[in-house]
Symmetry: C2
Subunit: 526 residues, 2 copies
């Protein structure tokens, strides 16, 4: 890897599947991670950080399988500053055409205190671990966590050590989202000026949005010489999230006059992957989110509308088509055939085998009978529902009839199949959803706690499909279930059951102690 | 007004009620606008832009009534560059203890082309209109719309004209969200250096977030000498919205080491007003929104959790209490009394008269019977429902019974009171919500179009209240209805009826031609 090839090219490092998936409740299934990785690769992301292999068996398998399937992008895994983490990371990423090990340690005074290492001990640890990683893989990224609160002299010292030990990319994380743009730029500039060997590596910027400045901080770092931006789709991530991929990529495109840098991202794929990440993570995008919000290209006031009619440029600096947002998305009706459905689904990013298409076509016809117009978003919901309501699920909704309204009690009559055996139960509750959930609990008792219940209409109109998201927590495991139906109550029942099925998978795959939550600084010394 | 009093003090100009309310679908009722204005005043905002008086009768009344009620803040109204707009604005704001007229015109080449004025003609118009405004009011703000795309020489020329004509605040809007921080700073710096009289006025920065950089751009302008930030709660506003008040205010607080400026905002009021604006605008805040998102202070990964336990500062640069977010918000149960309820509501910002308290107490008891635990958020939902389901509404839900589930058709049996007369009807539909809405339509036919249907649980647990938002559009009028109930279907019916009632008010108050949407550049010359 050389920094000399193209000085204007900025690498896009997407960490939706690692730092993004770390958000409370954003846990994705194995299939969802593979799908998102496929979309990231197709849109031209340079490096995909696919997970934290030591964190759990599930994380390991996701990184390994993404490494195997990916055609173009470099696949990166995260590892703390110890041999066990790094070895495990290598086991997962080595299957990639282009693998990378990313190892890190917290270098600020607050973070040095946690593993209780002094400056010299930490420097030695960095030397050992980066050397170890480089002996396994010729593409090694090293990060001094909380770099923006690390003493400058010490930061220069440890970056130099990492470079000498073989790191090819040095990432400077603003772990707490504390930095201001000129500081972000000054830090990169200082490192490039002061650290011997700095010209042989690529500097990366990794920002968090706690003060709303992640995008400006990332771009300021690029101006100062960073050539890799770490980011996530929709700015997903812990707390206020990471730098949003769509914002930095579009800013570099729209303001290329003053920011003369290129990325390899096909921006017309942005809208599709944004919607998909919102769905699988259960993190909706707010209407006024930059670039990908529902309103990002909408105008209300008469003044602006009048201006728009006269000249779109008056109020728009981007075109909807730049991010793959189509003017109209009406697509199909009840007379649409199988070939048309397959073609449309392919356009939406779903490439189906014949048997899968048959299933979807039956469901599409049923939907088209109930809805006058089927939109792209309806098809996406249908596909998601197809994936989430899988035939091999242990619990399935067979029948539901709910009576509700202003006069209590509301009741639900439910047939639930558990491991192939049908159970019928009637339950009451405060409202149709509570009654339905109580019925499910009566058949399948559990102690998981409902953290979030959310419904939104997929498209406009009173006959729209409703998508329901249900987030549950059991002993620290958080899962999100989803389902779509024109009947909100049926969608709620299916989403709840979907969450339970995911919980069963999580229970099987990992005992809680092997789960992400047990990863801690104390292990760093092992 | 002088710029000399305190060079470190940055004025906060909130335009939630003007630029924020301009977002498609964010229309607020008169009562909601007054309530938000009261909260803004109480939190220490310096200037409240309360509306655009010429835009509609409703806008005029809101600005006038906010001017009358406000204790501390300056009340500002917007006016285009014509005498009629400015006179109407003055009629509304003159009731304030401290009134301000804000007049603007688009000065960039693209915007000059719309009213078809050449540079000299526009300069003359600016001179006339600012003089006219200053003759009415000694506090005049002038904005060259699309300033960031206006030729620098021309911008200096028109700013000088506005200052000479008596403007006391010069606002520099980045209307299309196009600017990059160093440009934002350079523009203010240039104006302060080149324009005669620049030292006698306050410069303001008005940014939009289209590229995700509104906060950084606003702060860069402050560093360059701007002393007023224009912003909205939650960054509400057209497209990707305006600079978020909570982000700039908290950035100035957290990074006071490098940004040595003060605002007058009591940051502990941020969370309350953020929730309230999200509710009344129908614009939910995404979980990973900086400062006010549900996750802004939450931590998932084991590493971060371990760090948090050891030292909160390791990963948190702000404390939840700084923005008024309490650790736990469990408050009341079925045994809580009237006095406790009143005290709690007062703490949440609702100050009730005795008769209002009686109504709310009855509803609180009914809720406490159905829900094991009543949280602060439940009380807020109850209060909102109280306001939205007002006794004088023309249409009211009297009874609802819905049968739904996996076997179609779903049906709704509804009693709706219209102008005091009860009507009973049974209707079918695709799902309980569609059936219910069809029943409402059978009793009260209308052509309004459902644009958005959204449900979220107010608190955790399966017995949570559901809040339903329904956005409808009829001949360009957009209204949002909301309601809360433990029964989602009942909440849906009430929210739909609430939206219809709002539509009836809009129909009465203004013929469509007098509505905001008809305001256009063509009028600028009148």
């Amino acid at each position: 890897m050389s920094t000399k090839i193209d000085q204007d090219r900025v690498l896009i490092f997407d960490t939706t599947l690692r730092d993004g998936e770390q958000s409370p409740g954003a846990t994705m299934t194995h299939a969802e991670k593979l799908e998102i990785a496929g979309m990231l690769d197709e849109m031209g992301v340079d490096i995909i950080e696919a997970g934290f292999p030591i964190a759990s068996e599930g994380d390991f398998e996701a990184v390994r399988d993404i490494a195997r399937q990916t055609k173009n992008a470099t696949i990166c895994g995260l590892a703390r500053a110890n041999f066990k983490d790094i070895d495990r990371c290598w086991e997962a990423v080595r299957h990639a055409k282009s693998p990378r090990i990313h190892t890190f340690i917290g270098t600020s005074p607050l973070h040095r205190a946690i593993p209780n290492l002094d400056m010299d001990q930490m420097a030695e640890r960095i030397h050992e671990t980066v050397t170890h990683a480089r002996n396994l893989c010729d593409n090694v990224q090293w990060s001094p966590m909380d770099a923006t609160r690390t003493e400058h002299d010490y930061l220069c010292r440890v970056v130099e050590i990492a470079i000498k030990a073989g790191a090819t990319t040095i990432n400077i994380p603003d772990t707490v989202g504390y930095t201001y743009p000129f500081e972000s730029a000054n830090l990169i500039r200082m490192l490039k000026e002061r650290v011997p060997g700095a010209d042989t590596v690529i500097f990366a910027t990794h920002c968090h949005n706690d003060l709303g400045m992640a995008t400006a901080n990332a771009l300021a770092a690029v101006e100062a010489g960073a050539r890799q931006i770490e980011c996530t789709i929709n700015g997903l991530g812990e707390r206020a999230g990471n730098t949003a991929l769509e914002e930095v990529v579009m800013a570099l495109k729209v303001r290329n006059d003053i920011l003369p840098y290129r990325t390899g991202v096909d921006t017309t794929k942005i809208m599709n992957i944004s919607r998909r990440v919102a769905t699988v993570s259960g993190f909706p995008v707010q209407y006024n989110k930059a670039i990908v919000g529902k309103n990002a290209f909408a105008h209300e006031s008469g003044i602006h509308q009048d201006g728009m009619l006269k000249n779109a440029e008056t109020f728009e600096i981007m075109r909807p088509a730049d991010i793959g947002l189509k003017e109209t998305n009406l697509v199909m009706g009840k007379h649409s055939g199988r070939a048309a459905l397959r073609a449309k689904l392919k356009e939406l990013g779903f490439d189906l085998a014949d048997n899968q298409l048959n299933d979807v076509f039956v469901r599409f016809k049923a939907l088209a009978d109930r809805k006058k117009e089927v939109f792209e978003d309806d098809l996406v919901a249908l596909m998601r529902d197809q994936v989430s309501g899988e035939a091999h699920d242990r619990i399935q909704v067979k029948f539901l009839r709910v009576i509700c309204g202003t006069e209590a009690p509301q009741s639900a009559d439910l047939v639930l199949s558990v491991d192939g055996v049908d159970h019928r139960v009637t339950a009451q509750g405060d409202g149709p959803v509570d009654a339905t959930f109580n019925a499910v609990k009566a058949v399948f008792p559990h102690t998981a706690n409902l953290q979030l219940y959310q419904v939104h209409a997929v498209t406009e109109g009173t006959d729209a499909q409703a998508t329901v998201s249900v987030r549950m927590e059991e002993e620290g495991r958080i899962v999100t279930g989803q389902a779509a139906d024109t009947d909100t109550v049926v969608a709620s029942a299916k989403a709840y059951v979907n969450a339970l099925n995911r919980l069963l998978v999580r229970r099987q795959k990992s005992d809680p102690d092997a789960d992400v939550k047990s990863v801690s600084y104390r292990d760093a010394g092992e």
